[in-house]
Point group: C2
Amino acid sequence: MSSPTILFIGGHDPSGGAGLQADIETACAHNCRAVSLLTCLTTQDSRDIQHIYPQDSAVFEAQLRLLLQDIQPDWVKIGLIGDLGLAQVLLRHLGVLPLVIDPVLASGGGTTVAENNLVAFIRDHLLPATALSTPNRFEARRLTDCADTEAAVERLLVSGGQRVLLTGADEATSDSVRNRLLWKDGSREFRHPLLPHRYHGSGCTLASACTCNLALGLDFEKAVRKALDWTWQTLRHAEHPGRGQHLPNRRIPVE
Amino acid sequence: MSSPTILFIGGHDPSGGAGLQADIETACAHNCRAVSLLTCLTTQDSRDIQHIYPQDSAVFEAQLRLLLQDIQPDWVKIGLIGDLGLAQVLLRHLGVLPLVIDPVLASGGGTTVAENNLVAFIRDHLLPATALSTPNRFEARRLTDCADTEAAVERLLVSGGQRVLLTGADEATSDSVRNRLLWKDGSREFRHPLLPHRYHGSGCTLASACTCNLALGLDFEKAVRKALDWTWQTLRHAEHPGRGQHLPNRRIPVE
């Protein structure tokens, strides 16, 4: 059987921890074929994003058109969007394809990378078109303008995509990280031991691994469980080549 | 032993055959860690490059500075540069690191991606700083302004880098492809059976594989031979997800 093709859309991270490199390495590890478009270049190191440079939306639309005329992806994963004009292009062209969104609203270091108009557009137009979204607790609250995470998730499930993977590493309070897959009439909880460092690109890795597993035909629960297990392994074997956060090791085989 | 870190500098190709994706996938296959900077975004499919968009050189320099303050690469590979200002930034910051240059001057479809002033700068300033360059026959002639390939290579060896891998797939005339590694007082020839299709990204794959093998500590001859063998395997197992050229399959293990 030939490998599924996944279109990855997001930003470029020079340090290689996050963004497009996380997507491509995750696809490689899962024996999926990647095609990609970059929404933004960034000035970024393994500590934090300093600045994002969104691409011109007309150029981006030309790239997307040309790519889709050439290669038909089986699934699409969207990460950093960066700008309302780019989000509008995505909705125009990708509404019919099965879609995973990792709603990146701030860097791990706290720098905002989505203005309010983009946040509203993601919530009102992109999330309803998704098969799965992967917000962390902060993102769930900001997307819905709710102070309480549980209320935020309720609102995402009513207005948003079919399934929400609420990740918990950003606000872990015990010795384990609790991630929850939620859908309209059910949920499933996954726990993994909390690891000792800060990691640059763990969220990108997880969302990409979910997308690969879905493209390979796994059901949602199995796709998420396998993605969480593998992502945890990439963090357990993380490397520290720079001065900032640890970087996931995505050369770890998928079991 | 921890994996060597390679800084890849080049363009982004949405189809995933060439450019940064070729670099990252090749690094993955060789168990090397990639960091990267993008010189250009492109409008490109698996047939040809339609347009390149070089990044602002001041932004590029800021990205490069920040990255080098954070992570020290063991080797550097440069592919598509696209613009004289970017080439000048590269020379300013990378002159002391071991360097492989794939002097990309035109796309596989024939579109020029280097103006004459950039070609001259590569020849006069970047190639003399390289450990290895990987021109094809057309690029060797254009770099040196020689009509004859043999004369071009002589000139590259006098004025240019320490070693030249002259690739032959662009002008193969028999049922095998002849690639030659040349240095000031010697040369070594490698032949591989000619494969039936056109491939998008074979040159990027080869140059990246050479860089990985050098970063892993192989000598030049062994690094090049292993890189040629593996690249040939990625082409033999190439996939054809689009309407244009075949794309190398870099998920093939390195033997």
